[in-house]
Amino acid sequence: MARGGVRHAGELIAEAGRRGLAGLLTPAALGGQDAGHVTFARAVEAVARECASSAVIYDVHVSVASEPFALFGGEELKRRYLPRLASGEWLGAFALSEPGSGSDAASLVTRAVREGDEYVLDGTKMWITNGGEADLYVVMARTGGPGARGISAFLVESSWPGVRPSRPLRKLGLRGSSTAELVLEGVRVPADNRLGEEGAGFRVAMSALDSGRIGISAQATGIAQGALDASLAHLRARGVEISEEASLDEALAAAAPAVSVPLAQMAAQVAAARAVTVHAAELCDRGVPFTREAAIAKLVSTDACVAVAHAAVEICAPASHGDAHPAAIRLRDAKACQIYEGTNQIQRLVIARELLRA
């Protein structure tokens, strides 16, 4: 289980690279596994079931930090960076949010001013997962006028002058993953490092987030499954066990309703979270539009994981009141899933927009 303060993201991704898992969504020709989003979702869920912090490090690296390349990057750019990310040599991150621009991402104010063959980036990015540990950032900055069309995407190496991540923020949960502010002060970025055309940055970001939401949904499913696991382990430790041959009568007698009712609700929510996540991933892999299903998956799975983790804390009480109890950790970790990669309020607006468009 990841502990707060330990900088282990690079190590984790290096290990994933050694096992051939760091480039699941990267084309094979560029060193990745090109395994598709269903496999990606299964992998993130499996990691999150044990440790949500590790899952978000991994998810961000594999999806939003690597995938925009495959879709929008030029050949040279892909060849320069993707193999390093896919092998786990480098750790990736994605920088869209700012202190004053969260749900309203199109209002971001970080500037990218063209000077000859370079852009000069100035501004502050916020809530950057893997911030301070990443070797490469996908950064959205304003090259043009106000609104979504004035935004472009850039690849920024952490070693460049003026790239200044803050110390990791202290958080409610996901304490094993670093979340930082990223100050960009006169950072000179070669024009070649622009991802897609000028003005295409918002589209790059939104497309990354559609797929990224599959990862977050998988993370939420894994957290929920982990919380359910913790509840079952707790009950077994207290001698609640039902034989395989048990009739309903015996099951009713063995499992007090106070326990069996929330357990069943939890199992149903985990199953629903997994089903909507896999469905969105399948659509994505087939190349059909899946914005609506990704938003549904994100909303259903992350609301489910908070509810399931909360129920787990109740089932495992009072032990679960301890800071390091697996149910307590899940509850703290779960909350982030309703907030990042588009708050669940934003998911609702996306779903309603799609619903009312038809």
Binding site: R236, I242, V261, Q265, A267, A275, L356
Partner: protein, 382 residues
């Protein structure tokens, strides 16, 4: 948009049933609810369109026998009329015992007429004193030579008053609870002593036939017993594992029908100078309804696919989808009434009927409380 989870057969059935439901059943739905009369015209329509064939394998006159195909059809019909959808679901429920536990001869004897819809089926498990606890049933089946004599009562039997072929569960060994239960196929027309009393005044699915059955020394040939003596309870449970996704599909259709209506209304209805769909508070409601309905669909399709793959995990998935879809139908229809406001509350609009119809999906084929026990037992086993 084409649902990638469905194959060609399923998409074809979905398309044609959707059209049929919209064109032929939707215009009748309010009337069926209002009059509380069993819609024989819908039965006739299902016969003509060969929809009763859906749950059956081809060798008995069925289509592919795919649970997913059937449940897609149930969903489409339930979008416009839950009562009509139930006719199809119960034809499957009443036929599954024969399909799952019958000998070849028994299947030959009953299934073709059920697959064509010439005869209607029913499933009689529940009793006045044995609902969630079917092991506590008291209806007796007493062996007499080559026959059994059935004595007792069954209640809440969907289509009990209109069915020709009823699978009845009765105790052949009193005092042993579920271990002493056996299953029998009763041919209604050749069963003097069997009387059905239709129950009127239901909250929802009002056009559906719900009956109390009285067995006053009804003679049933031993050849009509499904499986061995004492196997009845296991048969009943296996049937429910298979049929629960059908009820869940009905719930899913009710939810989707209410959501569709609410979306259309929200686009049209003007308040404060704009469509109410433009208000964020309403959009949040619609989004939650959509997300929950989509999740219910994912679970129903998943459980149905497991049935088609003959997976051993069907029972767990069936209980989960039934629980989730039933609760979703109740919540979504209640919110649809809310979105329509006063109009939602009156009979000129369909959503109050949908809300009334939704309630039963939390109750029958195992209350959602029982589903929770089933799910929890699976979790805590081993």
């Amino acid at each position: 948009m084409v649902d990638i989870r469905l194959n060609e057969e399923q998409l074809m059935v979905q398309g044609s049933v959707r059209e049929l439901a919209r064109g032929r059943i939707a215009p009748r739905a309010a009337e069926i609810d209002e009059t509380e009369e069993f819609p024989w015209d819908v039965v006739q329509l299902f016969r003509q369109q060969d929809l009763f064939a859906l749950p059956f394998p081809p060798e008995y006159g069925g289509l592919s026998g795919s649970a997913l195909t059937l449940n897609v059809a149930i969903e489409e019909i339930a979008k416009v009329c839950a009562t009509s959808a139930l006719i199809l679901a119960v034809q499957a429920l009443g036929s599954y015992p024969i399909m799952l536990a019958g000998t070849d001869a028994q299947r030959e004897r009953w299934l073709p007429d059920l697959a064509s819809g010439r005869k209607l089926a029913a499933y009689a498990l529940t009793e006045p004193g044995a609902g969630s606890d079917p092991g506590g049933m008291v209806t007796r089946a007493i062996r007499r030579g080559d026959d059994y004599v059935l004595r007792g009562s069954k209640i809440w039997i969907t289509d009990g008053g209109v069915a020709d072929t009823i699978t009845v569960f009765a105790s052949t060994e009193p005092g042993t609870r579920s271990r002493g239960i056996s299953a029998f196929v009763v041919d209604v027309k050749s069963s003097p002593g069997l009387t059905a009393t239709t129950i009127h005044g239901k909250l929802g699915i009002r056009g559906s036939n719900t009956a109390e059955l009285h067995f006053d020394d009804v003679v049933v040939p031993a050849a009509n017993r499904l499986g061995e003596e004492g196997e009845g309870f296991r048969i009943a449970m296996r049937v429910l594992d298979r049929s629960r996704p059908g009820v869940a599909a009905q719930a899913l259709g009710i939810a989707q029908g209410a959501l569709d209506y609410a979306v259309g209304y929200a686009r049209e209805r003007q308040q404060f100078g704009k469509a109410i769909a433009e208000f964020q508070g309403l959009q949040f409601m619609l989004a939650d309804m959509e997300a929950q309905t989509a999740a219910a669909r994912a679970l129903v399709y998943h459980a149905s696919a497991l049935i088609d793959q003959k997976s051993p995990d069907v029972g767990h998935a069936a209980a989960i989808c039934k629980l989730f879809a039933g609760d979703t139908a109740m919540r979504v229809t209640t919110d649809a009434v809310q979105i329509l406001g006063g109009y939602g509350y009156v009979r000129e609009y369909p959503v109050e009927r949908m809300m009334r119809d939704a309630k039963i999906t939390q109750i029958y084929e195992g209350t959602n409380q029982i589903q929770r026990v089933v799910i929890a037992r699976d979790l805590l086993t081993g």
